[in-house]
């Protein structure tokens, strides 16, 4: 660099190797955290079990393949490509158990403020694993709501009725509910499952971790809206 002009990397050459290493590691940490919109590294309180993670990834892949085949897209279900340079996120949120009664159970899904504030949802799917008590058809009501942080008033409630006939995974599109949650800066989505009669925990197989309910969402970084004036 010309005399007297500060050159970002020349300064490094002048440092002692250990100091240089510390400076570079501090830069790497700061760069990664800022690109993830995190003030500090997260402290992980309850990491997901490997079994639940692998099952969820397999389910998402299977679902994407099925969707692609049914819509005539090539196997592998290409995800809609985004503008180059757009940062895209795949989010897996595993349910936290809420209150339950003989005919209903509540599940909570938490999304961080950083993600809710810096991304927009492209799609979101709720995955549930049914365990029916016997042959027949079991009507289930699924209610989605977004309690405010104090848990008092609830907004954005929506209701869906399903008829469950056999064990296995089922999916529900919750893209609109999660998008509305993100656009309000909310962080918690509550899913309530209610069955007509007392069949035990409403049909959910909540005993095995590998069948734990989860939401798989795809989001992209919000690009600042550009206003063009002519």
């Amino acid at each position: 660099a010309p005399k007297g002009v500060w050159c970002p990397t020349c300064g490094l050459a002048a440092l002692a190797p250990t100091t240089r290493r510390d400076v570079l590691i501090a830069l790497a940490k700061q760069s990664i955290l800022s690109k993830l919109h995190l003030e500090d590294r997260p402290n992980i309180t309850h990491p997901t079990s490997r079994g639940a993670l692998l099952t969820a990834l397999r389910r998402i892949r299977a679902q994407r393949t099925d969707t692609a085949l049914s819509s005539g897209m090539p196997r592998g279900g290409r995800v809609p490509r985004l503008r180059p340079g757009t940062q895209e996120y795949q989010i897996l949120s595993f349910a936290e158990s809420g209150s339950s009664a003989s005919r209903s159970v509540r599940l909570h899904f938490h999304f961080t403020r950083e993600l809710a504030g810096s991304t927009e949802i492209l799609q979101a799917t709720l995955y549930l694993f049914w365990a029916v008590p016997g042959p027949g058809t079991y009507p289930v009501t699924i209610r989605l709501s977004q309690p405010d942080p104090r848990g008092l008033n609830v907004t954005g409630a929506s209701e869906t009725r399903l008829e469950v006939q056999r064990d296995g995974w089922a999916t529900l599109d919750v893209g609109r509910a999660v998008q509305s949650l993100f656009s309000r800066g909310g962080q918690k989505l509550t899913v309530e499952l209610e069955v007509a009669e007392d069949w035990g925990s409403p049909l959910l197989s909540v005993h095995s971790e590998a069948h734990w309910p989860f939401v798989a969402a795809q989001a992209r970084a919000r690009t600042p809206t550009r206003v063009q004036r002519r």
């Binding site: 660099a1 010309p2 002009v5 050159c7 990397t9 020349c10 490094l12 050459a13 570079l24 590691i25 830069l27 790497a28 940490k29 760069s31 990664i32 690109k35 993830l36 995190l38 590294r41 997260p42 402290n43 992980i44 309180t45 309850h46 990491p47 997901t48 993670l53 340079g85 940062q87 895209e88 996120y89 795949q90 989010i91 897996l92 949120s93 595993f94 938490h110 999304f111 961080t112 950083e114 993600l115 962080q187």
Partner: protein, 114 residues
């Protein structure tokens, strides 16, 4: 582009690997195991200006001579990244959700003179 070796002073790419286990981040970053935080360093003499990396073609040699003889016409030149790629991360966020994202332009693959 060239990778810096020993005492090379010309514009080159310095490799630097940050091992997430060494910095205590392996509990929240599931994949990968580290970050190739390469950077560009070295001198860009005026006759090297505008050549991404050290091109060795005849055309470049001639161009270099022209530049070297018209040094006052050239402007400053800096050693900068000429090719970068995204860093793919699979990590836990504060709510223990699992997030996968590709952070664009995080890994320097090649350096050259502006």
């Amino acid at each position: 582009s060239i990778d810096c070796s020993g005492d090379s002073r010309m514009c080159c790419r310095k490799e630097f690997f940050v091992d997430f286990k060494e910095i205590g981040w392996e509990d929240w970053i599931i994949q990968p195991e580290g970050y190739h935080m390469n950077y560009c360093a070295g001198l860009c003499p005026l006759h090297m200006a505008g050549i991404p990396g050290l091109a060795a073609s005849f055309h470049t040699a001639v161009l270099n001579l022209i530049k070297a003889n018209n040094a006052d016409a050239a402007v400053d030149s800096c050693c900068v990244p000429t090719r970068r790629r995204p860093l793919s991360l699979l990590y836990y966020d504060r709510d223990s959700n699992i997030v996968k994202t590709d952070i664009p332009d995080m890994i320097v693959d090649a350096c050259g003179c502006t």
